[in-house]
Symmetry: C2
Subunit: 439 residues, 2 copies
Amino acid sequence: MVDIKRLSTTQPDFWDSLDALTSWGSHPGASIEQRVAEVVEGVRTGGDAALLDYTRRFDGREADSVAALEIPTEQVVAAHEQIAPEMREALEQAAARIRDYAQRQRLESWEYQDADGNRLGQQVTALDRVGVYVPGGKAAYPSSVLMNAVPARVAGVQEIIMTVPAPGGELSPLVLAAAHVAGVDRIFTLGGAQAVAALAYGTETVPAVDKIVGPGNAYVAEAKRRVYGVVGIDMIAGPSEVLVISDGQADPEWIAMDLFSQAEHDEEAQALLVCPDFVFLDQVQAAMERLLPDMERSEIIRTSLAERGALICVRDLEEAQQVANYVAPEHLELSVAEPDRLAEGIRHAGAIFLGHYSAESLGDYCAGPNHTLPTSRTARFASPLGVYDFQKRSTTLACSPAGAAALAGTAAVMARGEGLTAHARSAEYRGQGEERSGD
Amino acid sequence: MVDIKRLSTTQPDFWDSLDALTSWGSHPGASIEQRVAEVVEGVRTGGDAALLDYTRRFDGREADSVAALEIPTEQVVAAHEQIAPEMREALEQAAARIRDYAQRQRLESWEYQDADGNRLGQQVTALDRVGVYVPGGKAAYPSSVLMNAVPARVAGVQEIIMTVPAPGGELSPLVLAAAHVAGVDRIFTLGGAQAVAALAYGTETVPAVDKIVGPGNAYVAEAKRRVYGVVGIDMIAGPSEVLVISDGQADPEWIAMDLFSQAEHDEEAQALLVCPDFVFLDQVQAAMERLLPDMERSEIIRTSLAERGALICVRDLEEAQQVANYVAPEHLELSVAEPDRLAEGIRHAGAIFLGHYSAESLGDYCAGPNHTLPTSRTARFASPLGVYDFQKRSTTLACSPAGAAALAGTAAVMARGEGLTAHARSAEYRGQGEERSGD
């Protein structure tokens, strides 16, 4: 049988077991921290020359200049023309749906007036320039390009710079085609911590951006953490996860395949099935057994399920909801007859898939919602990537003379309470000062 | 005369000078990083015992237990009753206005249906538990308590835990009163990196929170950076800044006092005045000279202006706007006759104060918009603290059988393009599978 943990909420140590299973250290260890700190500092101070040096050492690529690592537009257009027509169409359909969903997330400016005639508001603007990091080599995912670049474009970002490593010169035409569809402006074949540092600080050739988004390995993640504050970042992503709540009424093969589709990402991916019907759990395990040999990535799936997967038996769907809220999963499938009712009690999840027909993989590619989601319990406080990540707000305050007078007393009392008398005086000038103003 | 730099955009090295003046390193240096790493790890593994040890060493406070460091509710209520009535009233008025503004920022859930009958949406939920860090001692700011806790309450956060150091037992009754007004649930007299670590990981006594907000010194900032990912954080704040754009039509004393109110925060605070009228710049400098001796914090103001302040002469207001967009100031005063027109071209600023009557200090305390704002050019990508920082989104997707069929083909093509065949199969089951479902 497929090796996967079996847990039950009736066990006295259930919550401890769940905690141990779902824990994921967020720190990469001192060795990676140290190496990333050196690379980031190297690029910050050494610019293009350092970037070329690291690219030679880590990606095995020789180049005379960073300019030579930029992909010419013609090559991007050519990649788009040369990929299979059904792939081109799929990319365009996916991009259209992602764009449609993203447009509904746009933040808008607003303003209101208080009783004293002061106007208060929030002015929304787009980021100027954004960097999209795309992993290279085997894990080259065109869907990631769309999910990261399309919302930036919808937000109104002026320039999108993409970096993708091309170790040994290898570069996915699908990734280039997706960049073309998403409207990426410039692409540099750079990767690792050095690419992140170049985007954060800028070099002679790579323009500094205002925010860096996109997935990457432990070095990329640590580099993003390191430059956080110099630029914005999307998140520090851990392994991908799904938690499926099933009422036991779906085809067990559907559920088995949903768990596989999570587990096939990599050995550290996590697939959890929560169900009150233990017979159904057995049926899903049997279905896995039948289906696994046909899977191209069966070894990865096998390891992932054995190391990090679990079949969890609960007393009822309410308890399943508690488990989900504790795990705060990146992906949550509610494979139940009344998913909307169950969803109402979900407090923490990156993406919620409602009902038997809403497979995670539909959302991963083309349904519209973003697939860049908070992992490792960070859905307790973080949101999916969205248009709002490429916009920011400024508060606005326009005081009328009468309105300023109404506020000045309160401000002055509080300022004096904090020992900040210049604050108090500044407020009082406006409170008493109509005849003093040059208006 | 008051010592303050004078810059002009007509100088060939103007932008370099501006860059040098406004740069602020975001990294605290290896020594602080190392010490904070030790404290955070100490509290993570040592819990209450470590917390007591650090509190003894860093705050000079002996306590038998962490429970003894929690402020009883009665003490909080008593502080609220004992402060001066006008202060109590000011706190309540400020809280009411902050609450009113915050309510307009609430994110709401939404859903729509596509042409194939799929429902797509965004479900908004509040964070469960939030930690508010409040600095202690001299820089005890009740206004910060309101600005951090009130939006959390408006968002629907279930529990707000505040930490405030009480070095040598000293604790501001105003801070306690503000906590009462804002609806803080529990208060621990803890500070520094150890307080941040306790909130992030939890100890036997201090509950783990989902997000930590609030200002602090370099150790607190580095600790927040370090636990980012385990919990959410608001931002890594640098010194406070104001940039005033003046058309030269205000009373020079008003502008001088606005610059003072920034400079009095601390020696590293930054006050910049940008104006096309160099005679007015002289008048403001003369006003500073007259007003400075009366200021209680005149030495801090003098140092701040000399080290980090500037009077900047520009060709016209359009150029002033360019300067502001480059600096991306935390606070931006548009002390001009037509501030709305000028604001339209502002792309980056934390808070915008429109017109001669909108002094920053009114916004700092009680106008309504939050005073926790992005500093050090981070307004290029970050927003003021708001209700939205205490809410998060989950995407939702409910596929109809027909809708799933419409998406399955696209998803499968893309999944195969990425070599993820379980994803493809999972999508295809839904595309063909009405008779296979248990629905």
